[in-house]
């Protein structure tokens, strides 16, 4: 049996109707009570969830600000003709103890 495009169209139309007729299914209301019961038991976790996301946003902002500051600093160091790696190393690892020892013993 060959199946023409016209027949296919008719079948597709019938299936579309079948899809729309699904709306006629009867549904009870018990699920609403169950949903509200579940929701009533949620607030604690829901609020901690929102607290967590606020905390995440804060950490994210801090990370972005630090990255931006580092970028500005290294750009500035380059413009001043200082090797940014050396500059950072100087800032981070300068040892005040050594200076004191040198001063004391006159090295």
């Amino acid at each position: 049996m060959s199946f023409s495009d016209q027949e296919l169209n008719r079948l597709q139309k019938a299936l579309k109707k079948a899809h729309f007729d699904k709306e006629q299914v009867d549904v009870g209301t018990v699920w609403k009570w169950d949903a509200m019961r579940t929701i009533r038991n949620l607030p604690a976790s829901a609020s901690s969830f929102s607290w967590l996301s606020e905390w995440n946003a804060l950490v994210w902002k801090f990370a972005m600000t630090t990255a931006a500051l580092l970028l500005v600093l290294s750009t500035w160091s380059l413009q001043m003709g200082v090797d940014p790696e050396m500059e950072m190393a100087w800032m981070l690892f300068e040892d005040p103890v050594e200076e004191t020892v040198n001063d004391t013993f006159g090295f």
Binding site: V30, D34, I39, A46, S53
Partner: protein
């Protein structure tokens, strides 16, 4: 007399008052901790959610999924920015929850149905004929039609199924379907074209060679 008519019980007055509160105000109050008032939103939009779910899910899954939709909505309420209407936002959650159901279902399914019962084949033959023997609005025929539709869709993936239902059966635009599913418009277009070809191939196979 007019006074008598307006005088209702305090409970009824409170209910009427709740019915008139705008969605955004309710949402604000829920977010401030008034959990109970979320029930007003649920009563207001239960019909809408059920209507969406009935189109995408088997009847025995509708109630459970409706429950899941409202729980998800409650949990995500903080993310509702009011850029779209609340009912639309809820429809998006309903469609995506239906999609999640099918993804889970298809992952766990054992073997797809292999044969179509004789009564359903008769429905198919009747629906393609020029002069159908009985109207397809007939109750038993309606049931067969839905079972045939389900049988045809059962072979598709969860993605193809959702896109066929939204774009092809409900005739939504690519943009609307993309918004509901959270996909790009191009993805919806490509997938709906391929899924439709698969569907047509399956229908032709059933009708030409039997199943």
């Amino acid at each position: 007399m007019a006074f008598e008519q307006n005088k209702g019980s305090p409970n009824k007055d409170m209910e009427n008052e709740k019915d008139n509160i705008p969605d955004l105000v309710i949402i604000e109050r829920v977010l401030k901790g008034e959990t109970e008032i979320f029930e007003v939103l649920m009563d207001r939009y239960a019909g809408l959610v059920l209507m969406v779910l009935k189109k995408h899910l088997p009847p025995d899954q509708i109630e459970e999924t409706a429950q899941e939709v409202f729980v998800r909505a409650y949990q995500s309420l903080k993310n509702f920015k009011g850029q779209s209407e609340f009912p639309h936002w809820l429809s998006v959650i309903s469609v995506r929850t239906s999609y999640d159901y099918w993804r889970k279902h298809y992952r766990n399914r054992e073997t797809p149905m292999s044969t179509l019962p004789e009564s359903h084949r008769m429905w198919l033959e009747n629906s393609v004929s020029d002069n159908p023997l009985h109207s397809i609005s007939d109750r038993s025929s309606q049931k067969e039609a839905q079972e045939v539709l389900e049988w045809v869709l059962a072979d598709l993936s969860a993605e193809d199924r959702m896109v066929i239902e939204l774009v092809y059966l409900q005739e939504l635009s690519g943009k609307e379907a993309a918004e509901l599913l959270g996909w790009s418009v191009a993805n919806v277009k490509v997938r709906s074209f391929r899924a439709r070809k698969k569907l047509e191939k399956k229908l032709r196979t059933i009708m030409e060679r039997g199943n």
